[in-house]
Symmetry: C2
Subunit: 221 residues, 2 copies
DNA sequence: TACGTTATGGACGATCCATTCCACAACTGA
DNA sequence: TCAGTTGTGGAATGGATCGTCCATAACGTA
């Protein structure tokens, strides 16, 4: 019927994401994206609308990825391993920030900081993402409570909010300049202070389980 | 000797801060600032250099204020009240974010998110600020430990990093859209999970002490 | 009071950037 | 092979924005 597209949409979105991630919304020019993707401006605008729509697309995909990473590690499996999943997730998030040597931070945080105040779409999407993460964490905490790894007297909703705050906070203080090793320690400490059931004991200063290797994989934070 | 300035520098910096705070660095125009302050561009540039220098000035002042707020509440007073000071500070920070109805967030977080990656001045200043806060929190935690309000087996350095992360994290999740009441709960929960000495007991879900009124005062977050 | 110096503020120039436009290319169905 | 449709890329456009310039104003000093 007509000339087919010569580019892969996913690929273009990836490149666009890199740009927005690196330089923020206002800081990236459409020319940058055109150059980074190899597309002409005509194709770019024809396929994605305008700069705002393109960012919303990228931002939305990122939020989806953030939740998917969490879903891949939380709220699925036997109660006996809930604690391991939970601490694995928190450590993973800390590791992501700690190994972000370029200090790009997280596109979710960056986008929200820059645009949430004036852009309802961004504000809404980031709020959705937060509540989704909250739900996953709460579910996992409840599981850990059933298995006796967390004091069942504690309110899982509140602990989930605390953990989410710590995870997002690690990102924030990391961007603000705290050392990578400090960030990893924070994750350990946060897990260590979660209330244990009577009898069991975890040291508040103790190190967490061995952390997994990161191998430079870029994971949505 | 010459014509004196017709404006108050502090006042101008305040207005400039409002602008940067509301719309970020890239998002504010020098014309906006000129209009907001009533100054002409000539005066503005004559007095502050260029946009970058003006922002650095505003950002630096903000960082100073953030530390001063903390200094005004922490690390000064008898050990017996250390815990009260600590929880007062954490609650104050949460309240600031919770009552930030305009969703402006914190200029420190916003500026760091937007510029730290490419602007060494901003990066350095925000890092300094974090370590200053860390020191204040550590001092206060040590005091609380001496008085027996926090388990002395815990590493004050680590607990301080955790609390700082929670405070900054509250700002982040607040900007991302969590409800004000949730933010206040997070502060309570974070304080509740701090390790108590053997024998004493705090409930992980218990509410903190009554929170002070905020009266709409704008405090550096 | 006259002069040198600094402040003022608005017009101006130069640049940057999002978006549009257009001539041309690639493809399909008739 | 031709016509119709959609994709392509780069030039052009129009508006926005940073920073400068300059004629003038306000002050201290001689």
């Amino acid at each position: 019927m007509a000339r087919p597209r010569a580019f892969d949409e996913r690929h273009v979105l990836e490149r666009a994401r890199e740009q927005f991630w690196a330089t923020g919304y206002a800081g990236t020019r459409m020319d940058d994206i055109a150059q980074a993707t190899g597309l002409g401006k005509g194709s770019l605008y024809g396929a994605f609308g305008d700069k705002g729509k393109l960012f919303h697309r990228v931002f939305g995909d990122w939020c989806t990825a953030v939740v998917e990473v969490a879903e891949g590690r939380l709220a699925d499996g036997p109660d006996a391993e809930a604690w391991v999943r939970l601490s694995g997730y928190v450590h993973l998030m800390a590791e992501n920030t700690a190994s972000d040597t370029e200090r790009r931070g997280c596109l979710l945080a960056k986008g929200a900081a820059e645009l949430a105040q004036h852009d309802p779409t961004v504000a809404g999407r980031s709020a959705e993402t937060m509540t989704a993460l909250l739900t996953l964490l709460r579910t996992e905490i409840s599981a850990a409570q059933r298995h006796g790894d967390i004091d069942s007297a504690a309110d899982p909703e509140r602990l989930a909010a605390l953990l989410l705050t710590v995870v997002r906070g690690i990102e924030a203080v990391g961007k603000a300049g705290l050392a990578p090793e400090t960030l990893r320690n924070i994750a350990d400490t946060a897990l260590a202070v979660l209330p244990m059931p009577e009898g069991k004991k975890r040291s508040a200063t103790g190190r967490g389980p061995a952390r997994e290797n990161q191998r430079g994989a870029v994971t949505a934070t």
